[in-house]
Amino acid sequence: MDEKHFTPENIDMAWCPGCGDFGILKSLKKALAELEIAPENLVMVSGIGQAAKIPQYLNCHYFNGLHGRALSPATAIQAVNPHLTVIAESGDGDMYGEGGNHFIHTIRRNPNITNIVHNNMVYGLTKGQASPTSRRGFKTPVQVAGVLLEPFNPLAVAIALDASFVARTSITDPDHTKAIIKQAIRHEGYSLVDILQPCVSFNKINTYQWFKDHAYPIENHDPHDRRAAFDLALQESENGKLPLGVLYVNPDKVPYHKAAGLYESDSSPLWQRPLDREKLCTLIAEY
């Protein structure tokens, strides 16, 4: 399948020239095309932010909802119709800040969705304030003395919550990003792909070069080893190193829609199931 299938006509893109978001869009399209996912079967769900505009630039179904809330509709869409491929994609502010509570509990819930986060360590759309992943000391018009807060470590949090798939890539390596996205989509259950992404307009610290200098590919790591995965995830907090690749996989987790028990004997989406009125009459007769 050609990635052009996913390119809509006449779109006016709101991203700054040189932004890492372009690379992510391209890698995603390639991944989708290589996986032969039909646009009619794909639902992109996003929140609000520059990253969250990505569904607007894709030819597929999409639910571009509220800031911070992408994971909730994504969970429901997939659970109501498990035949759809559902990707929830937004920025770090959206997913880890405004949507932090949903991030935690969606991991616990383990819906069969792919969660892609553009991690540019800044708020782009609102013009350059700190994000939860901004490094300490990062100066902005709001954080005038530099960021005081400990950066949010999404991978460590996800592994601590036993997320079923946890990976990080950097858009400085688009092929690796594409490969990881493919793995994440194929994985059954919740998968997190945190993508390091330079924001050329508002983050002059965490640049393409900075990511190249601080990120490195993981080697000789068993992703089923949760403790080793956690050690890797902690590196960013401990020595500023950003390991790239699949850190953790738990293949034994049952995806949410299956655990919820409505698909054991019937795989059809909920809208195809008529109300059993006879049963309802019986229930009413019990009162």
Binding site: Q56, N64, A76, V80, W271, L275, R277, L283, Y287
Partner: protein, 572 residues
């Protein structure tokens, strides 16, 4: 309204949480219903799991009863402090039945108390835990329930327990029954109510269950909610029946997730309800606004309790009408339904799903703690008619989710059904659903979203007038849960120049809603809140003013006597 007075006994059980008030109540009402008595029950409880003091007020009658009264004919205090808890409701005609030693100090002179050593009788049989069964036996006898009926019921309820417990339960029931017979004879305590054979065919159902059954009948197949009194009853009801009816039930991490999941579910073809109380709904308001923007159907069950903030978690109020009416930033249409009876709760909840789906709008079912926790016998709900009609289409290539049209309604498609692509965008968008900052298009889209208001008004359920087609000189106006209470109060007053107008749809108003109000000389609006929110709504949206308001905002529901007094004060 015509003068009428039900023949009924008001029976009140009072005790701390966890003391078995509920067991007595649950067994008793079922047995009394089987014996052909009309039953009404309402609860008042504290926001705590143990201790405190809770009460269940029952009315047992020969004709339908559906409203709380202050009067107590028979009080069963189950602990010290119980009598004081309801002191204001006692009169010289109240009979207090129970272990006198517990409450002797709380009784004033002139009150009648009869000592029934429940726990002593129970302990002699085997354990104090049988006290409740002794009480059931005694009450059964006072109401002339056949012993066999009681026995069968108790056996069924405790089926599966070991033989010793079953035997001792039987003995406790027998002992209680004998006490009752003795009371009837020696103390002249007896209730002669005429059973009504129709009652046995009816159902005994609570407000929360009626909303739940209505949701199922409306094709609900998704709820993600965060527990909050008094809305939790609906969540547990749907959880209990979820697997039987293909309903996905999830406890969301917060109300924000709950409503956003509900919108996701509708987007993918599901039929979702968001259920919460005021505080939780406050968190949902951005999601409500999203429903407006993406023209998504949505049903919201908002079970009111007194605010602001945490307020009185287990008490009642009609204080969130304004909240439902104005919640959500930006301008978008909505419908607010407020059932007054259990039948209406069933019908309107089903109707809410249909309205939401047809007009792609949020529809509220506005209840309150009093309503969801109250139950009585009512005709069995009829689910034989197929009321679930999906209003989405199979899309074609080039499908535009927000296609402009005169009606403002664009056919709604869902992903995975048809060849088209379905977009939903919380930004202002074009016909396809892509983000836009074209300000001319913005105007068109706002007009489109608001255009359906016309249909909503056309489809609005008008208020109900009693007596029918009357021009009463004096008119009481009420909405939602207060209906049966006002009805009984007006029947007691019995003036033929006094009528009642009840709104089960409070927004938008039916175009002719104001007519009967316009004709009345004295217009009294009765509401369970402090601000007279519905009176204000009438002024704003129907340009009609009321002369008097009867308001209550103590956290308790109105009682019949209270309404009689307050209306009489106005009319005299």
């Amino acid at each position: 309204m015509k003068k009428k007075k039900p023949q009924d006994i008001s029976l009140v059980l009072v005790g701390p949480a966890g003391m078995g008030v509920q067991t007595v109540e649950q067994v008793l009402v079922k047995v009394l219903q089987s014996a052909g008595y009309h039953i009404y029950a309402t609860k008042e409880y504290m926001s705590r799991v143990r201790g405190g003091m809770n009460s269940t007020s029952l009315r047992v009658a020969g004709s339908p009863v559906r409203a709380p009264v202050d009067r107590i004919d028979l009080l069963i205090p189950l602990a010290a402090g119980a009598v004081s808890h309801v002191a204001k409701r006692l009169s010289s005609s109240t009979i207090i039945l129970g272990e006198k030693a517990l409450f002797e100090k709380e009784i004033e002179d002139g009150f009648r108390a009869i000592d029934i050593p429940f726990s002593k009788i129970a302990t002699e049989i085997g354990s104090k835990i049988y006290s409740n069964i002794v009480a059931v036996g005694l009450l059964g006898a006072l109401f002339h329930v056949e012993f066999q009926l009681l026995q069968d019921f108790i056996r069924k309820r405790f089926a599966g327990k070991d033989q010793k417990i079953l035997d001792e339960n039987g003995q406790a029931l027998q002992a209680g029954y004998e006490q009752g017979a003795r009371l009837a004879e020696q103390e002249n305590v007896e209730f002669d109510l005429k059973p009504d054979p129709n009652v046995k065919k009816q159902m005994l159902v609570s407000g929360a269950e009626a909303v739940g059954l209505g949701a199922i009948a409306g094709g609900c197949n998704f709820i993600a909610a965060y527990p909050m009194s008094p809305s939790t009853g609906l969540l547990t009801f749907l959880a209990k029946h979820g697997r039987d009816f293909n309903i996905l039930v999830e406890q969301a991490e917060d109300e924000i997730a709950g409503i956003n999941m509900a919108l996701g579910a509708w987007y993918a073809g599901g039929r979702a309800i968001a259920s919460t109380s005021g505080g939780g709904f406050a968190l949902m308001t951005e999601g409500l606004s999203l429903a407006g923007m993406i023209e998504s159907p949505l049903v919201v069950h908002l079970a009111q309790r007194p605010g602001p903030a945490t307020g009185l978690p287990t008490r009642t109020e009609q204080g969130d009408l304004d909240l439902a009416l104005y919640a959500g930033h930006g301008e978008f249409p909505r419908v607010i339904l407020a059932p007054g009876t259990l039948q209406q709760a069933f019908d309107l909840t089903g109707h809410a799903f249909d309205l939401a789906d047809r007009f792609q709008i949020p529809v509220f079912v506005l209840t309150d703690q009093y309503f969801v926790d109250t139950y009585y016998n009512t005709d069995r709900f009829d689910a034989s008619e197929d009321r679930v009609h999906h209003h989405f289409i199979e899309s074609e290539e080039g499908y535009k989710r927000f296609a402009l049209s005169d009606s403002g309604l664009s056919p709604r498609a869902i992903p995975g059904h048809g060849k088209g692509l379905v977009a939903a965008d919380s930004d202002e968008h074009d016909e396809f659903g892509r983000i836009t900052e074209d300000l001319d298009l913005r105007v068109k889209m706002v007009d489109k979203r608001l255009a359906r208001t016309k249909f909503l008004v056309e489809e609005a359920i008008g208020p109900t007038l009693w007596p029918q087609e009357s021009d009463s000189k004096h008119l009481v106006i009420c909405w939602g849960s207060t209906l049966p209470i006002v009805q009984e109060a007006l029947e007691r007053i019995g003036r033929d120049d006094l009528g009642l107008l009840h709104f089960s749809q409070v927004f938008p108003l039916h175009p002719a809603a104001a007519q009967p109000i316009g004709k009345a000389q004295t217009r009294i609006c009765l509401e369970n809140n402090a601000g007279g929110q519905f009176a204000r709504l009438l002024k704003t949206y129907a340009d009609i003013e009321v002369d008097h308001t009867i308001l209550k905002y103590s956290g308790a529901a109105f009682t019949v006597e209270e309404i009689v007094t307050r209306i009489t004060e106005i009319l005299d």
